[in-house]
């Protein structure tokens, strides 16, 4: 199916790439269908993807793996909230967090408190507010990521 996207223009999307968020996401409860897009121009998948709404082209959230900025990320989630996603296992669970990017990139933050949890088999997802009070809604990680990259590039 052809869809309009915020960052990639009009694309042809396979139906099996559609992820349904039955409760939508907070603040955008009316939009239920999403897909994950990323720029593979370099032939290598970057660490950032976009959770793109199929209903509203301008609705796209930048998302990253929580482990990129918090290697020991271990959210506590009420099992009952995940039940609608179907049976989750290490093989089918996908956990991503949104980032907000102010004009000063160094002030970039990640939302550790409300991850998007998806089941790649059932293709259902939900945004869950987790119990852990230590995980911030606005977690600053620029310095940490930049330092990590510098180490990698130095090798």
């Amino acid at each position: 199916m052809l869809i309009n996207t915020k960052h990639f223009g009009k694309i042809d999307l396979d139906e099996d790439k559609i992820i349904t968020f039955e409760n939508g996401i907070l603040g955008f409860e009316d939009y239920k269908k999403y897909t994950l897009l990323y720029d593979d121009e370099d032939g290598e998948r970057p660490d950032i993807s976009w959770l793109q709404s199929l209903d509203e082209p301008m609705l796209a959230l930048p998302v990253i793996s929580p482990f990129l900025v918090k290697p020991d990320y271990n959210p506590e989630v009420e099992d009952e909230l995940l039940k609608p996603l179907g049976s989750l296992s290490e093989d089918n669970i996908v956990v991503l967090i949104s980032i907000t990017v102010p004009s000063d990139i160094e002030k970039i933050t990640a939302n550790l408190r409300a991850p998007f949890i998806m089941n790649s088999d059932s293709r259902k997802g939900a945004q869950i507010i987790i119990e852990n009070p230590e995980y911030e809604v606005k977690y600053h990680f620029y310095n940490q990521l930049a330092a990590h990259k510098a180490v990698k590039e130095g090798k």
Partner: protein, 75 residues
């Protein structure tokens, strides 16, 4: 908004399966017990609003794409 007066240990029932009980009143703080099906998410409003706001900010990301892509590019 419906306003109901309740005393300590009194409850209100919402629908068939949600019950809200006043557990403790201490100065300007009230402790509330909520019995609801586990599938009903219950949030402190401040957190709920923060997340909503954060989602909206994320959608507004218009950062210089190049800077952003550089930060997340794999090497």
């Amino acid at each position: 908004m419906l306003a109901l007066s309740r005393k300590l240990n009194e409850s209100i029932v919402i629908g068939n399966d949600i019950e809200v009980t006043i557990l403790e009143v201490k100065g300007d703080q009230v402790k509330i017990g909520i019995s609801a099906p586990k599938s009903v998410p219950i949030y402190r409003k401040e957190i709920y609003l923060q997340i909503k706001e954060s989602n909206k900010e994320a959608v507004e990301t218009n950062a210089n794409e190049e800077v952003l892509m550089k930060l997340f590019k794999k090497h």
